[in-house]
Symmetry: C2
Subunit: 200 residues, 2 copies
Amino acid sequence: MAKLTPLLQQLIEALRVLPGVGPKSAQRMAFQLLERNRSGGARLGTALVAAMEGIGQCQQCRTFSEHSLCAICSDVKRQQADVLCVVGSAADQLAIEHTGQFQGRYFVLMGYLSPLDGVGPAELGLDALAAQLAQGKLTELILATNPTVEGEATAFYIAELCQKYGCKVTRLAQGLPFGGELEYIDGTTLAHAFSGRKSF
Amino acid sequence: MAKLTPLLQQLIEALRVLPGVGPKSAQRMAFQLLERNRSGGARLGTALVAAMEGIGQCQQCRTFSEHSLCAICSDVKRQQADVLCVVGSAADQLAIEHTGQFQGRYFVLMGYLSPLDGVGPAELGLDALAAQLAQGKLTELILATNPTVEGEATAFYIAELCQKYGCKVTRLAQGLPFGGELEYIDGTTLAHAFSGRKSF
Ligand SMILES: [Zn+2]
Ligand SMILES: [Zn+2]
């Protein structure tokens, strides 16, 4: 109704910025917070403002950080690592951290090369990445970009940088996802898995 | 990872107060806002704080309002209405407004009688409702409570109040699916049930 109290109307509209939240679920969220959890709603409001205003990027790896160096880049053990893993986003970095398999440092592109959208090497901080390569301390750079057209193009660009600076470069294996069923896997993945087959 | 910057960690946890938002989708929301829409995220934060702190209840009908009287109770045409529609929640009121079938006033219970949860007549403002009935100006009270056990029990209690004060009382036509929640019923069904209301 046009009769919703203005603060409520504004809240319902503002909730639509959340991914996957349409008008009906924005309304449900607003009513539920007002009816059952005002303190939680206010806490969320404060956390949103603090995060949107306070979170910048790590000066070294570009991941989200409220300090000039993120927790990983500030970690003495990981500072000494000579392996760098390049990912497309902070969410991808988080996914790799969760595997527990990697103890090195990261470089977070925060996007992929996309000339039509005005995203070039500068926007992804590739000059800073080149400067790290130029120091000659890295023994390996792992490309963990998305297996998509843009991810591949960006990986190719970075691989050329590595060759220029004489750094070994590796790429996450492409193939069948664990637990996947062959008949449901898309053709491109299957073709990659097939051509990348290994001795058993 | 334990390595998420604290403000981001707090934001992801705070997002969990939203209905239907689990850890994975809270994380997705936080990253998406940080990457693509910080101004929208900050606007949502401000709207949340303003709504949680600024929205109270209308003194007359108990619906959400940031003023002492809501927009409907302040509407001169509707002030003169002699039909009162009793609903369980502001969301139910909104659903009925959307049918466009009703021009009278509302009384919003903000819950149903539930002695085990400590919700009695006082918690639902039924003394204020009785006071309105006592004025003798209402020609009809429409019970638009949920077709659930608690909704029926509350309707029965209010119907007895009406009999005491000699006010005609009607009930939304059955045809609403038993156990359904009014807020989620489609507009046509709701409009039919509304126009087909019967003496209680
Ligand atoms: Zn860092
Ligand atoms: Zn009102």
